[in-house]
């Protein structure tokens, strides 16, 4: 029966749900070289993101954010991938890659700009080599491909700019829902045809708002890669070590010129799609509880403690740092002001545009008129 070929493959896993480690013939070696400090960093990073994320939801509930998009439950998938990259690797995120953004150094107030509706993108994408969040699903994976075409072109012409590496790759992030978009398809066609250094990172968190994964695809998303002629792998996205290892494995080949690869991280969106969503309308409590038992942080912590890599003191230190981050976030959001409309006029175009200039001047005069009226009535 043909369907048997398409049965869900078991995702690559190194850490079981109970925190026990199992050797893997291909992937263990990518973990073996990691020192304790690096391993603790992965833990620290996941804890920080979760605290940040929880605080953001509270801030939204208190009316300080227009919207929040929780990444709860996806900390390991995101951290495992971003930690395996080089700083020269460009990331094209969706709008949920908070762990990746923070890892790259995006500041809390920069990340929150869009969620406080103060700006559309709060950070300079070039500064962190981390693109702005993309709200139109899958549009960014086409941009990732263009960026990769640029990498190839740089190498072909020997015109590598300052700060660029010869073995750069691009990470094209998308969720299970976005894989249904036409741009996801076109992106993979381009990446494959031009043999581009693109790593597709699909976080399959099971739900596209209220629509389950099987409505997007009747085959594991990793299998789609084969249709385009490149390798796709499923990894347990709640296992930070497996995600890290699989990413290293993929990146190694991409850097060697193997063309695009795809990682499907199987994970779960513990929170709502956004703070405007009500997941109780479409998914069961049993399902949620089952996934909570596969918690990525608890699993990793259990293993770290069993290995004596993480002491009680270190855990306490991370918790304190997380509490401080939450406090910083609250203060930062509180002081975030929307960028002035004048600045928005000024960035519609890079070069002067008659209609924009006229309208900007008109608004200034119009509002100055109110100021004058105010002065008159004061007298």
């Amino acid at each position: 029966m043909r369907g048997a070929d398409l049965a869900d493959p078991v995702p690559v896993q190194l850490l079981a749900e109970d925190g026990t480690f199992t050797e893997h013939p291909t992937f263990s070696r990518y973990i073996e070289g990691l020192d304790d400090e690096t391993l603790r960093e992965l833990y620290r990073h996941m804890v920080l993101e979760r605290r940040f994320d929880t605080e953001a939801t509270s801030l939204q509930r208190q009316g300080m954010l227009a919207l929040w998009v929780p990444a709860l439950g996806q900390e390991a998938a995101q951290t495992g991938v971003i930690a395996a990259l080089q700083p020269t690797d460009r990331v094209f995120p969706t709008y949920r890659e908070h762990a990746m953004a923070l890892y790259r150094g995006v500041k809390p107030e920069e990340l929150m700009g869009m969620f406080r509706a103060a700006t559309h993108t709060g950070w300079d994408p070039h500064k962190y080599n981390f693109n702005g969040y993309s709200v139109v699903l899958a549009s960014q994976v086409m941009h990732a491909v263009g960026w990769a075409m640029g990498i190839k072109q740089d190498l072909a012409t020997g015109a590598l700019d300052e700060g660029r590496a010869e073995d750069e790759l691009v990470v094209a992030c998308l969720g299970d829902g976005a894989t249904s978009q036409g741009d996801a398809h076109e992106s993979m066609v381009f990446a494959s045809s031009y043999e581009l250094p693109v790593l597709y990172f699909i976080q399959n968190n099971q739900w596209a708002i209220s629509v389950p994964q099987h409505t997007q695809s009747r085959v594991p998303l990793a299998h789609r890669a084969a249709g385009y002629g490149f390798e796709g792998l499923r990894v347990d996205g709640n296992d930070v070590l497996a995600t890290y290892a699989v990413t290293q494995y993929m990146a190694e080949q991409i850097r060697a010129g193997a063309g695009p690869k795809l990682v499907e991280a199987v994970t779960y969106r513990i929170g709502a799609h956004t703070t405007a969503d009500d997941p109780t309308k479409y998914r069961t409590q049993e399902e949620l509880e089952a996934w909570k038992r596969r918690d990525p942080i608890l699993r990793y912590r259990t293993w770290l403690e069993a290995q004596s890599i993480l002491t009680a003191e270190a855990t306490e230190q991370v918790d304190q740092e997380a509490a401080a981050l939450a406090k910083d976030l609250r203060a930062a959001v509180h002081s975030l002001e929307p960028i002035p409309l004048e600045r928005i006029f000024d960035t519609v175009y890079a070069e002067p545009h008659r209609q924009v200039e006229v309208e900007k001047a008109w608004l200034k005069d119009y509002e100055a008129g109110f100021a004058e009226e105010g002065q008159v009535s004061d007298k």
Partner: protein
Amino acid sequence: MSAEAAVDAQEKEAVSTPTTMPLAKAINRALADELAADPKTVLIGEDIGALGGVFRVTDKLQSQFGTDRVIDSPLAESGIIGSCIGLAMRGYRPVAEIQFDGFVFPAFNQITTQLAKVHNRTNGAVTVPVTIRMPYGGHIGSIEHHSESPEALFAHTAGLRIIAPSNPHDAYWMTRQAIKSTDPVIVLEPKRRYWLKGAVDLDTPAPDAFTAQVLRKGTDVTLATYGPLVPVALAAAEVAAGQGRSVEVIDVRSISPLDDETIARSAAKTQRLVVAHEAPTFGGFGAEIAARVSERAYHRLAAPVLRVGGFHMPYPPSGQEQRYLPDIDRMLEAVERSFVYAREGGH
């Protein structure tokens, strides 16, 4: 003068003499010159390589500049524009070819939600100097989706620049200016005029691409149009002159930004304005021109601004396009109609 100096002088003379070439060749030359001038300029589109494009606008460019600089894309318009955005983010100046106006819509999302907004969205941190070349307009006797005029759909999107050259000299210089612009620019190429020959002076730049130009002076009525209808308007003005009407013809050239000052100044002088385009008049770009001129020149106008354009229907089968497209007679009818209105109100 030495023999060498004489040869130099002759060559200089030869270079500064305008060369007559078809409009498509002028664009080809502009692309070649930009590819040669800037290693960051790349072309991407369907069939633009070995074939040289379905209209041969990119003829021989791939053999001259290589497959890395003149790139045949998969058959995917959204992919073409999306990849151009990524290339531009990395510092390239991609020039995309959309094969026909009617095929731009798969890329409409990338153009309007991404390309137009990236600079603004990032508060100016990221520029996307992408040029989109698009043959547009009808009168080529083709099948559905090959004759459309979608300029109003793009004009309504802030962040895009849109220009429409009407002659070979403008086509050469406006294409070069579009590629050099830091903003995204859509160049609407008047496909029925690809074979129109004209003088191209490769040493003397055309006026700024984002301005309108008065092509023919007149005193009685202003006729403003752009792209493929400019030669029609000039011919209509000639006929009108024979009938005693002095028509001022304006080539609008730039749709966004719109040089409304030039058009309003002319309309204030002649007191009458007719705007023509191939696109349907309903919700069309002519309405924008009419509104702006009405605001600026209301007291000087002797008649409402009149529009000549396509009808509120999908572009018809080209067997009927002669009746659909504005021609000399339709323009003259509007010109005459603008004289029906009484000068001193009350009509």
